[in-house]
């Protein structure tokens, strides 16, 4: 599959995705697994709903005092001998990472999973500058070999079937014995590990993301299941953390609140296999750890949404539950969204970070069914905010003119009851007659979108209001 970077092509991307048999197979497997797995995890924690309130309130507090906690975080990191780099945009973040890598003449960089890494396009940038990035998360490793982008926030290779993983390894791993059995996940994992070991040992710099930044400790936290993150950040000489500004929380207690919500919502686990706290470089008495600890603090447009109708999206902890429960995501997968983030949260974030003019269809690619909001651990009112994007498109004349005219015309009628009743009577009669007693229409004027895949049930003939008046 080609890498798509065009959110405005959502419709065409979706059509391609709907006809991609292996993608559909992968999506069905994911859907059938993720929904019941989360449900069972939530069932086992009676206070989950209250915990969601705590998480929401905590993040609201942080967002209201973001400057304060970020400055505190910086102070704490510096006090531990680490460095914080404030980066307003992707370009400055990339430049700082390269600078740090060059300071030790780095040739190889290992990477843990990081959506910020995707957001700033760090891999392509490092490669272009002669530094080899090696993804160490299994999913990320698979898609790196396939030259693809993640299709899910926490399951980057969700779109790849097991058979395709085997095929990819056989193609990419030189010296792999053709007779070797790779037909189960454990064997594939072992094969990837064997290959990655060398990368871990030769890397000069390790780059990870951060699930949380703890302000008073000056620590970053990663939540993983494979242990690759630990090797990535402890073995090389330098550890670089890529984090966006809204990841900060006041203290360890708050991090624990979010740590109870994140794995349950994301993978249905009570706790991830590894929760790793990193605070500063290796101290004299430490047995291991990096010589330098750098945190790239990325804004990339986020702060512009503070105090706006979109502020609540900054509560997101990137668990992926909204993707897992979205019927649109279930149908088309992540790549159709055309940029780093996908699913309901992607339809909020991509317009925010990339410009609404570059993501026009995304806020509309939802039935507003609300299932995302019902599972979001941070209680982000996603449908409400999708509607806010639609409002900005409508008000800013970004929405297509014919559509705007049609809505305004319809509203003209809906605001005038007598005119509306008349129009409804005509429409009811017209469509009824067109159906010629069949009860439904195979096609109808202005209804091509509807009748492409379904019949249009015909009106019974006279409107309710008309009949009601006749009765009374």
């Amino acid at each position: 599959m080609t890498v798509l970077h065009d959110s405005n092509a959502f419709k065409a991307n979706a059509a391609t995705a709907l006809h991609d048999a292996s993608l559909q197979e992968a999506l069905a497997i994911a859907r059938e697994h993720s929904i019941p797995t989360r449900a069972r995890a939530i069932e086992r924690l009676p206070e989950f709903e209250r915990l969601r309130n705590s998480g929401r309130d905590l993040k609201n507090h942080v967002i209201a005092h973001l400057d304060q906690y970020l400055l505190q975080f910086e102070q704490s990191v510096v006090a531990r001998g680490g460095h914080v780099h404030w980066c307003p945009d992707a370009g400055s973040a990339r430049a700082r990472v390269l600078e740090i890598c060059r300071s030790v003449d780095a040739r190889t960089v290992t990477k843990g999973k990081s959506m910020i890494g995707e957001e700033i396009g760090i891999n392509a940038f490092l490669e272009a500058n002669g530094i080899e990035p090696i993804e160490t998360d299994l999913g990320e490793y698979i898609i790196q070999l396939r030259r693809e982008t993640p299709s899910h926030i926490i399951g980057p290779a969700l779109h790849v079937t097991q058979a395709q993983v085997e095929e990819t390894f056989r193609k990419s791993h030189d010296g792999l014995d053709p007779a070797r059995n790779l037909d189960d996940p454990a064997a594939l994992m072992a094969e990837a590990r064997a290959h990655l070991r060398e990368g871990f040992l030769k890397a000069d710099v390790g780059i990870t993301g951060a699930n949380f930044l703890i302000a008073d400790e000056g620590a970053s936290v990663i939540v993983t299941n494979e242990g690759n993150g630990d090797l990535t950040q402890t073995l090389p000489r330098i550890h670089i953390v890529l984090a966006s500004i809204e990841k900060v929380v006041p203290d360890m207690h708050d991090a624990m609140t979010l740590l109870r919500l994140l794995p349950r919502s994301g993978t249905g686990q009570e706790l991830a296999v590894y929760v790793t706290f990193s605070a500063g470089p290796r101290r004299a008495a430490d047995l291991d750890g990096p010589g330098e600890y750098h945190v790239i603090l990325l804004d990339n447009g986020r702060s512009a949404y503070l105090g706006t109708e979109f502020e609540e999206m900054l509560r997101c902890i990137r668990c992926g539950a909204c993707l897992d429960h979205c019927p649109v995501y279930h149908s088309v997968g992540g790549h159709a969204y055309g940029w780093v983030y996908s699913g309901p949260i992607g339809s909020l974030l991509n317009p925010a970070l990339n410009g609404i003019e570059n993501a026009k269809p995304l806020p509309h690619a939802s039935t507003l069914c609300g299932r995302c909001e019902s599972v979001c651990p941070m209680r982000i009112p996603i449908p409400k905010m999708l509607r806010h994007w639609r409002e900005r498109e409508f008000a800013g004349a970004i929405a297509p003119m014919p559509e705007r005219r049609l809505i305004r015309l319809w509203a003209f009628f809906a605001r005038r009851p007598w005119l509306y009743r008349l129009a409804a009577r005509l429409a009811a009669r017209g469509l009824h007659l067109l159906a010629r007693g069949q009860g439904r229409l195979k096609s109808a004027p202005f209804a091509a979108g509807w009748t492409r895949h379904r019949d249009l049930p015909a009106p019974q003939g006279r409107t309710f209001q008309e009949q009601w008046r006749a009765r009374s």
């Binding site: 419709k11 979706a14 709907l18 019927p327 649109v328 279930h330 088309v332 509309h364 690619a365 939802s366 039935t367 507003l368 069914c369 609300g370 299932r371 909001e373 509607r387 994007w389 409002e391 409508f394 008000a395 929405a399 559509e403 809505i407 305004r408 509203a411 009628f413 809906a414 605001r415 009851p417 509306y420 409804a424 429409a427 009811a428 007693g437 069949q438 009860g439 439904r440 209804a447 979108g449 509807w450 009748t451 492409r452 895949h453 379904r454 019949d455 249009l456 049930p457 009106p459 019974q460 003939g461 006279r462 409107t463 309710f464 209001q465 009949q467 009601w468 008046r469 006749a470 009765r471």
Partner: protein, 270 residues
């Protein structure tokens, strides 16, 4: 938050919804019958048109606000407003107050109206209506997303359906999944909408039901259209029709028994 309908309230205003008005008035008459059976006197305020969702969900906030004001004006004099649709009820109950929150005049009026808005089955169940209907069928019930998540309606329709004689209810899998209608979504993204409808139809078929019920005509038009295009014999009806025992009308998307004279519904004049 949701106020309980008072048993003293005898007059209810029916907000019939634009889809019922245009496509299937028999649902409106079934709702009237059920409300009358529950001891209510039903009025249909003439100033009503549509709740405004097409504008609201298309981002035309200005039109949505104007339509909301018109609807409030038409309905606010009545002690209870009953809506045979979770989606339109949710618009009146959840979204009008948000839409008009900053308006000194309309904000309080929107909130006052919202307190008195009920989805039909929710209202009937709360009033303790005993259902007197007989429909021989194996039915399955589709929860509309708005009923489920904006109006918290889940048990009410099932409690009422369980009282219908000779009718059995078979729950489908994935009851919380959307059917793919989504208002303008289904015409803007017909292929994605179709994939969603297909999964819903697969779940419906797996129950072995011969009757599909729901409380929202939008979902019903979508699913009936999908089922009929595929040649399915599963009958599709609004839950009110079955609860009222008014099933003489052809099911949604089906032709009559040879008599298709316009408006000869046989239910309007009773």
């Amino acid at each position: 938050m949701t106020s309980q309908p008072s048993s003293k309230v005898d007059t209810v205003a029916l907000f019939v919804t634009c889809l019922v008005d245009l496509f299937r008035p028999s649902i409106g008459f079934a709702a009237v019958k059920l409300l009358e059976d529950a001891g209510c006197q039903v009025v249909v305020p003439p100033g009503q048109t549509c709740c405004g969702q097409p504008a609201y969900n298309s981002g035309d906030r200005e039109s949505a606000m104007a339509i909301a004001q018109g609807t409030i004006l038409a309905l606010e004099a009545h002690p209870a407003i009953v809506v045979p649709s979770g989606s339109c009820a949710g618009m009146l109950k959840r979204h009008y107050p948000e839409l008009l929150a900053d308006d000194m005049n309309w904000g309080p009026r929107a909130r006052s109206l919202a307190d008195r808005v009920f989805e039909l089955t929710q209202y009937l169940a709360a009033r303790g209506l005993r259902i007197d209907a007989q429909v021989a069928a194996r039915a399955t019930y589709h929860d509309s997303c708005s009923s489920l998540r904006e109006m918290q309606v889940k048990e009410a329709p099932r409690d009422l359906i369980s009282q219908v004689r000779e009718l059995s209810l078979a729950e489908m899998a994935e009851t919380e999944a959307c059917c793919g209608f989504g208002g303008t979504f289904c015409v803007k993204f017909p292929d994605v909408s179709d994939a969603m409808a297909q999964r819903k139809v697969d779940c419906i078929r797996a129950t072995g039901a011969d009757l599909l019920l729901a409380g929202d005509l939008g979902c019903l038009l979508n699913l009936a259209g999908k089922l009929k295009r595929a040649g399915s014999t599963i009958a599709v009806r609004h839950v009110a029709e079955v609860l009222a025992g008014m099933t003489a009308q052809p099911a949604i998307g089906e032709s009559g028994t040879g008599d298709s004279r316009m408006g000869d519904s046989g239910v309007g004049g009773k």
